[in-house]
């Protein structure tokens, strides 16, 4: 988040340049916005001139001759301004919406391509705020702030030019004040940006405080922590209030100071201009135009400073989005593979081979972090199609590694993983993934009905097939209990269902995919014993015909596996069948006895 980045307050074009390929698609509204804004700058500095004209031409001359003509000219200006204004608003609105749309889509598309190592170190919340709010801010900056900065410069220059033409010596009074105001602005904006950063940091602390106080409420109640947390929260809000007041005070010097500069400039103009009028070298009309300019000029300075500091303070958010859309996935299909099999959005299914489900690890070595410890080294294993591989070991022992490699979520750092005798890298990720059925420890569903969630495994499945899959894993009981049956909405992330129910549905989703490779990643640890039994019976048939990888920390599930791998601290320490491993009296034997015969000992 911007609040946490302690980036220097300076502007750099580099991250903007990275966004340019996306933004250039909308260059027409951008050009429209800038062009119309330049026209507006002209009408804006011309209007006071036009208004001042009446003083000399009619009032002091004491005649109404030519007034009709004057009104016509005025109306012409109004018409020009209105046309430009309409174009300006329309362009900016379109620019904001469309470039926001494009940026969001670019982020989302890249997020679909990024590998799991990215997701392992980046929280979903972080990616979400990049895709949603950061892109929004960038779009609104491009649409409203950037064209206005150009307007500001054009307006200021225009005003100076017009004034210099009318009376050079009087214009000098105002021009001399400009550097003073600029210096003041730079001085204050620096401080305001810093104070504003503090305000935002405190704000995110308050939000975090609420998150804790509300999500953790059950825990804090059980531990009687209410008073302590309240005290801490009050400290946080106190700090936030102080930061806000400090920022307000700094602004309270700066803004009136600029207004005061404008009024002083107007007074000075009035004085010098007044003398010139008295000596007959300046008309009153011109003088009144000057005082109008003096009052508005320094306001424009202030707004301009505001816009520039907005661009600066949003720098971090531009960088975050630029990083996201240029992040390169670590696992990607080669050009040849993509040409033959298509990418993940445009598959060429006509070229896809059938999969049998034979998996080979050929001299595979692997480590997660560059230079980190090797978790697999020169590992070899042949898994015939239809075989079951069980992976056991303690929590956090790295049991998911093999599965990650089979699914090509990661690629081996040495050796090859072969599917049906060919390197996984020779075919597209989508081809591989379309043949996998995966059940995770923490089931994840999508908003929508139960039916839609099961069908996620294979979108062209018929209603009958969906229901058959549900029956196969006893998930039909869930639908039967609910008034709307399969059409029941499961809520955001499936929140309206219990963990056990979600798990059964995610089993049905995997079953309907008709996978050639079936992965159970500690899939039954969050369900109770009775449900677990049901699932085991249901998946028995599927597992006997499909290549399966079963990760478990409970051993009762895996005794029938064709091969059991025992993992400790990320390394395979034993390998064999249930019987042979028991006979070895090694790590597996120890695990098995602690877990199972403990009850007899007790």
């Amino acid at each position: 988040m911007a609040e946490h980045d302690n980036k220097k307050a300076s502007f750099s074009l580099r991250p903007w340049r990275k966004l340019w390929p996306v933004l250039r698609q909308r260059r027409w509204p951008l050009i429209g916005a800038i062009a119309s804004n330049l026209v507006l700058a002209v009408t804006d500095f011309y209007l006071p001139l036009l208004q001042a004209e009446v003083v000399d031409a009619f009032i002091l001359a004491g005649t109404l001759a030519g007034l009709g003509n004057y009104v016509m000219r005025y109306l012409l200006i109004i018409a020009t301004e209105l046309i430009a204004l309409r174009l300006y608003f329309a362009s900016c609105m379109r620019l904001e919406m469309l470039s926001g749309h494009d940026l969001r889509e670019t982020c989302f598309v890249n997020l679909q391509k990024l590998s799991l190592d990215y997701y392992n170190v980046t929280s979903a919340g972080h990616s979400l705020s990049r895709t949603m709010s950061d892109t929004d801010r960038i779009a609104s900056m491009i649409a409203w702030v950037f064209p206005d900065i150009i307007w500001g410069f054009a307006y200021i220059l225009g005003v100076f030019a017009v004034m210099a033409r009318m009376s050079f010596s009087l214009a000098m009074t105002l021009i001399l004040l400009a550097p003073v105001v600029t210096l003041l602005t730079v001085y204050f904006q620096r401080r305001l940006i810093a104070l504003n950063r503090e305000v935002r940091a405190q704000h995110s602390r308050i939000t975090a405080g609420y998150n804790e106080g509300i999500m953790g409420a059950k825990t804090s109640k059980t531990m009687a922590l209410e008073d302590r947390l309240t005290r801490e929260f009050e400290e946080t809000t106190g700090k936030a209030a102080r930061a806000g007041i400090l920022h307000g005070r700094m602004r309270a010097i700066y803004v009136p100071l600029i207004v005061c500069c404008g009024a002083m400039a107007a007074s000075a103009t009035l004085y010098r201009g007044g003398r010139m009028v008295l000596s007959g070298t300046l008309s009153i009309g011109v003088l009144s135009a000057f005082t109008t300019y003096a009052l508005s000029l320094f306001q424009t300075f202030r707004q301009q400073a505001n816009r520039i500091s907005q661009m600066i303070s949003q720098q971090a958010c531009v960088e975050r989005v630029a990083d996201l859309i240029t992040e390169v996935p670590t696992v990607r299909d080669s050009k040849e593979v993509e040409a033959r099999y298509g990418d993940c959005f445009h598959p060429k299914m006509e070229n896809w081979e059938e999969m049998c489900g034979e998996v080979d690890f050929d001299d595979v070595s692997f480590h997660y972090v560059e230079g980190g410890e090797e978790v697999l080294s020169h590992f070899n294993l042949h898994v015939p199609a239809g075989a079951t591989v069980a992976i056991v070991g303690e929590t956090g022992a790295g049991k998911s590694t093999l599965v990650n490699l089979v699914c090509r979520f990661f690629e081996p750092t040495g050796g090859r993983v072969l599917i049906d005798g060919r390197d996984v890298r020779e075919r597209s990720q989508l081809w591989l993934h379309s043949h996998i059925g995966y059940v995770l420890q923490e089931p994840h569903l999508f908003s929508g009905t139960i039916r839609e969630n099961i069908r996620y495994g294979r979108p062209d499945a018929t209603d009958e097939e969906v229901e058959a899959a549900a029956r196969a894993v006893s998930a039909d009981r869930i639908a039967a209990k609910l008034p709307k049956g399969y059409e029941t909405d499961v809520g955001e992330c499936g929140d309206k269902l219990s963990t056990g129910e979600k798990q059964l549905i995610s089993f049905a989703r995997a079953v309907i995919a008709r996978p050639k490779i079936f992965v159970l990643d500690e899939a039954t640890s969050s369900v109770d014993t009775r449900t677990e039994q049901m699932i085991q019976q249901a998946t028995h048939t599927l597992m006997s015909t499909t290549t399966s990888f079963v990760i478990a920390h409970r051993l009762s599930t895996i005794r029938q596996a064709d091969v059991i791998l025992v993992i400790d601290h990320g390394k395979i320490v034993e390998q064999g069948t249930h019987e042979s491993l028991l006979a070895q009296r090694g790590a597996y034997y120890e695990l098995y006895t602690t877990q199972l015969s403990a009850q007899e000992r007790g």
Binding site: V54, A252, V259, A263, G396
Partner: protein, 596 residues
């Protein structure tokens, strides 16, 4: 009814405005003064033009008459400069007081919400989705803040501005004032109608944004599912559809807004033109002076913006009612009732459940449950999901009150004790414990201020957490929940166990607190637990037999009733539910699966 509600909302605002009152009063006075000074400034220019430059000395006060024009010009300009300086001073007071007031107001409101939420009963937290409550405390509070700080003040200052300008303008000339002011109600009405009409599109846009955000969020949290099933195409399709919907709504709103602003500009520019044309006529016919004319043009121009934003402010204001309702919902939920004269009890004494029944949302959870746990002993409770086993822990810590029967510790009904003392004495470890976003050390020590590092490390050791902690780069100083460092379910549970062990509470309840821990660690913790807990009374709740088997006494719950009790050995011999579950879990139960 409706009026009553309005009174409540006003009362809520008034209450939290109290600490901000002085700052707001000062700020508003300064704002009024600033408007007057601005008017004065324009009047000085008018005076300069008419009296000094055009020499119409008739209106001069006595002490100035007879001075020459140069002198008068110097005087007028000095006066203008002095007014400018005064404006600066007043502007400083205004701009620094108003944020001060609004910060004080919002602090008071935030603190009140937080304190109240902390004091709401456990059941309230179970019933109310956390996301929604956080939303209320952040964005609804922000809406109320902006209502007070921006809208109310802007409304007040605009109305005051219009009043002052009207007064000054009418005092100068009635006819031209009527023309200048004629546009004000038109512009206000126009904006109110427009913003009222566009409001429903804003709601639509908000909903569309929510839908879009949900698609992205679910895609990100479910990334493994998306990848494993190769569903990127469908995800992109879903996203595109929502992204388009959201963008289209805004494009429509955008088109409406452009028309509105353009038309608004047409109105205000015509207004200025009317004033000019009429003003010129009147000047030439001698009805008003040049200075007056210039002042009129200046006032008209200064009124344009505030008047136009008035419409927006008025519509925005009508929205705050919804936010206030949402906050009142929280603030009006009843806090826990604390006993008037709490009794103190020996928490190390015997725990008794006497014919306890409890229903949750009219669904019976516990039915006539009675048991006794001698002080310092260990009780195991076995049950499947939904058997009511967790409720036992919640009732004991008085997070809920039983519907019938009573619960005593050391002979005193838990309802007669002070909740805080009770809960500090009964350490409950939940199945899904919450860790605070601070360091692991601080998390473990959170319920015992002033714990030494040694004690913290000992507690971590007892909860078999030391090894896991040593694998983090920052060890005990690892901040929980920050990018990259997320704890597994088992690690969280063990941290919660360490946290409770450290309190040294006389009663400790572990509610399925080892469900996500692997078998080996589970066993290691269990063997340490009795020793680490000292002479505390222990209650272990689980659906795994292995967790409970060392308990002194075990009760088996099914559908809220005790169906069996005894020691592990006794229950195995009995061959009932307990023995069946034990067989199923040991995997030696082929005959069982054939049966079930």
């Amino acid at each position: 009814m409706k009026k009553d509600n309005f009174k409540k909302k006003a009362g809520l605002l008034a209450h939290h405005l109290r600490p901000a009152a002085s700052a707001f009063a000062l700020g508003i006075s300064a704002a009024i003064l600033a408007t007057l000074l601005r008017t004065l400034f324009t009047q000085i220019i008018r005076f300069t033009v008419d009296t000094v430059l055009l020499g119409e000395t008739g209106a001069l006060p006595a002490f100035l008459s007879g001075r020459n024009a140069g002198m008068l010009l110097t005087l007028a300009c000095t006066a203008a400069a002095v007014v400018a300086l005064l404006e600066f001073a007043v502007g400083f007071v205004q701009d620094s007081s108003l944020p001060k007031g609004s910060e004080r107001f919002v602090k008071s409101l935030r603190d009140a919400l937080y304190t109240h939420i902390q004091r709401l009963p456990y059941s309230w937290h179970v019933q109310n989705p956390t996301g929604d409550i956080v939303q209320r405390c952040t964005s609804d509070v922000e809406k109320v803040r902006s209502f007070i700080a921006d809208q109310v003040l802007e409304l007040m200052s605009t109305i005051f501005l219009i009043a002052v300008y009207m007064g000054v303008m009418f005092s100068m000339n009635v006819r031209i004032s009527l023309v200048a002011m004629a546009f004000v109600p038109v512009i206000i009405a126009y904006s109110v109608i427009f913003f009222g009409k566009i409001a429903k599109h804003f709601t639509e846009a908000d909903e569309a944004e929510g839908e879009l955000s949900t698609v992205v969020q679910e895609n990100l949290t479910g990334v493994r599912v998306v990848r494993a099933f190769g569903r990127e195409r469908d995800e992109l399709k879903k996203f595109r559809e929502k992204n388009k919907k959201y963008t289209d709504i805004w494009l429509r709103v955008g088109a409406m807004m452009s028309n509105f602003w353009t038309l608004g500009d047409l109105l205000s520019m015509s207004q200025v033109l009317c004033v000019i044309v009429l003003g010129v006529h009147m000047c030439v016919s001698g009805e008003i002076t040049l200075g007056t004319y210039l002042a009129f043009v200046s006032y008209t121009r200064q009124l344009t913006w505030p008047v136009r934003s008035l419409g927006r402010v008025i519509t925005e204001m009508s929205k705050v009612g919804v936010s206030l309702d949402r906050l009142l919902y929280i603030l009006e939920s009843g806090e826990e009732v604390r006993p008037a004269a709490p009794q103190s009890a020996d928490l190390r004494g015997e725990i008794r459940f006497e014919h306890v029944s409890f229903a949750y949302e009219e669904k019976p959870v516990l039915r006539d449950v009675s048991f006794t746990v001698p002080g310092g002993s260990t009780l195991g409770i076995l049950g499947e999901t939904g058997s009511g086993k967790s409720t036992v822990a919640l009732l004991l810590a008085r997070l809920y009150d039983p519907d019938a029967g009573r619960i005593t510790i050391g002979g005193v009904d838990v309802r007669d004790m002070d909740q805080q003392t009770l809960r500090r004495g009964v350490g409950v470890v939940l199945q899904e414990p919450f860790l605070f976003s601070r360091t692991l050390s601080e998390n473990i020590a959170i319920a015992r201020e002033g714990a030494t590092q040694e004690q913290i490390e000992q507690a971590a050791q007892d909860a078999c957490l030391t090894h896991a902690i040593s694998e983090f780069k920052d060890g005990f100083d690892t901040v929980v929940g920050e990018r990259g460092v997320t704890l597994s379910g088992g690690q969280k549970q063990r941290t919660a166990i360490a946290r409770t062990l450290l309190t040294g509470a006389p009663v400790m309840v572990f509610d399925d607190a080892l469900s996500a821990v692997d078998a080996k660690t589970d066993e290691a913790i269990r063997t340490h637990l009795r020793e680490a807990a000292g002479d505390a009374t222990l209650i272990l709740i689980a659906h795994r037999v292995s967790t409970l088997m060392q308990a002194d006494h075990i009760i088996v719950l099914e559908d809220g009733r005790i169906v069996e009790q005894g020691t592990h050995a006794e229950l195995l011999r009995r061959g009932g539910t307990y023995a069946r579950v034990a067989a199923m879990q040991s995997g030696t139960g082929e005959e069982v699966s054939a049966r079930g």
